[in-house]
């Protein structure tokens, strides 16, 4: 029955085949991401509610499972309000930028052996480059709104994201020093064999004192990821007690939804990066029978969900930072620490001939 389809496919020139295959991969990945995002958002709210002894969303669908879809419909069906005096094209471009940049980083994240859209040599640099672009959506949105709260929010956000990007960059450098490659698949494959080989412990790869560097590096990465994605306790760009909602004040309907999806997608991306860089990616914690039966993509997903849970717990438990303390933490503590770690790790790798 499908023979004619197979014939038709084989008759196509290679370029067309490649284009169709890649496009459908990208579409499938996007749909999976958006669907998982809907439930992760619900999880975020449920965790938050549980910490505060509330029930959280529980009305739409069983246990509120369809809440995110209801929210989605509500946002999409509302009216898009563009404030008078706003720079209309830029105002509408900003959420699109956030949304697009949040998606295109996922192109290089390997979720299982061979399951990656683009297995490029400079994967780590690509992730770093695109995540440094994420700030534009916020700056442009804040400026184009032509209103003071959004503008203040976007200024704060720009300064914050630029500051924490520096330490994230140095943490990435320590990891790529250990692996000796910028390819994310190679980074994951270097952590095969068991949880002690994961970069956060790095026992199989380097002599034991290495974890004295890698564990602090992971902690720095985690906290910087919170700041980079404007998550509490570093959500100063949208601090509701000071700036109403920061750069999102003037946004309504679908543009707001795009900002929201972009922001959450970035958070999940940071969770995925922590998994790939420090926690073995798709590898099981033990390389023996009952663990290896479970498919690799499941291990990847479970680790990402765990880190997302940590993000949600931090949001629920930690009070908001003051802005000068945030800057102090980024520039005076994380930057020197990660810089020193790069130097020490470089020497360590050369000394032990591992990289």
């Amino acid at each position: 029955m499908f023979q004619f389809l197979v014939d038709w496919w084989n008759a196509l020139p290679f370029g067309v085949q490649w284009t169709i295959a890649t496009t459908s991969q990208i579409l499938a990945f996007m749909i999976v991401l958006l669907l998982s995002l809907a439930f992760l958002l619900l999880m975020d709210r449920k965790v938050w509610a549980a910490v505060q002894l509330r029930k959280g969303p529980n009305t739409v669908g069983a246990f509120g499972l369809l809440q995110s879809f209801a929210d989605f419909l509500k946002f999409v069906l509302k009216e898009i309000v563009v404030p008078a005096g706003a720079d209309r094209p830029l105002f509408l471009l900003a959420p699109l930028l956030t949304f697009v940049f949040a998606f295109i980083t996922w192109a290089v994240i390997p979720v299982a052996p061979g399951w990656v859209i683009s297995d490029i040599n400079v994967g780590i640099l690509y992730v770093f480059a695109i995540s440094s672009l994420g700030v534009y959506g916020i700056i442009i949105g804040g400026w184009a709104s032509n209103s003071k709260y959004p503008f203040l929010g976007s200024l704060r956000s720009a300064a914050q994201m630029v500051s924490y990007e520096v330490s994230i960059g140095f943490v990435l450098v320590t990891v790529l020093l250990m692996v000796g490659s910028m390819n994310l698949t190679a980074v994951v494959e270097a952590q095969a064999g068991g949880f002690w080989n994961w970069h956060v412990l790095s026992a199989g790869m380097l002599p034991w004192p290495a974890f004295l560097i890698t564990i602090p590096m992971f902690v720095i990465f985690f906290i910087s990821a919170l700041a980079e994605t404007n998550r509490p306790p570093f959500d100063l760009p949208e601090a509701e007690s000071e700036l109403v909602a920061g750069y999102q004040v003037e946004y309504s309907s679908t543009p707001y939804l795009l900002f929201m999806i972009g922001e959450y997608l970035n958070i999940v991306l940071m969770c995925a990066l922590m998994t790939v860089l420090f926690f073995g990616g798709w590898h099981a914690p033990f390389d023996i029978a009952p663990f290896t039966w479970i498919p690799p993509v499941f291990w990847f997903a479970i680790k990402v969900v765990f880190f997302f849970f940590m993000f949600a717990m931090v949001k629920a438990l930690v009070p908001r930072y003051r802005y000068d303390q945030l800057m102090r933490l980024g520039w005076k503590i994380f930057l020197p620490t990660s810089l020193a770690a790069v130097a020490v790790m470089g020497g360590f790798v050369v000394y032990s001939n591992a990289g």
Binding site: G15, T19, D87, L90, I120, N121, V122, L125, Y126, F128, A129, I130, S132, L133, V135, Y136, I139, I140, W143, F151, L155, A158, V162, E165, G169, M182, D324, Q325, R328
Partner: protein, 202 residues
Amino acid sequence: MLQAAAFYILAATAVLSAFMVVAAHNPVRAVLFLILTFFSAAGLFVLLGAEFLAMILVIVYVGAVAVLFLFVVMMLDIDFATLKARSAGYLPLGGLIALAIAAQLALVGFAWVGADGAAAHLQAPMPDDTHNIAALGALIYDRYVLFFQLAGLILLVAMIGAIVLTLRHREGVKRQDMHRQVNRTRDEGVEVIDVKRGEGIG
């Protein structure tokens, strides 16, 4: 075919947005067009097989330098109309400088094409057995290590100079001293005073 299409799209975007940097009425939009130019240039680097340079261009120029640029331009309180009116006066001088730079670029380009051994380099711009990060690393940290380090030192001096020029210590500013704050004991922090009835502690 796909590559050629990508090249023409990226090149056209780069040229058009570079033109719009000059032609845009609003400085913020001009900076945004500049960013688009950088971005298309990065795309062109990828097409040339220099993916490392492309990523560094995006990280350094688009991700950091242009953000600060945008920051400054957004904070400026300038009257765009008068700025535009005056910019017409700069046109001859600007055009002259642009022409001089274009001429220099052409000179360098033609001289390089005709130079000894350039044809061989054009044939094989990269060794096949190594990818371009390793190739660049070998060049920068091996053959040109002195120049690289000197460039770094010059940047360091510039950075320190900028800090020295702008740093000023203001009197009477209250600063938070985390160390003192955390190590404060009850004896230093609390003073118990017996206040007599009807009098203050004045």
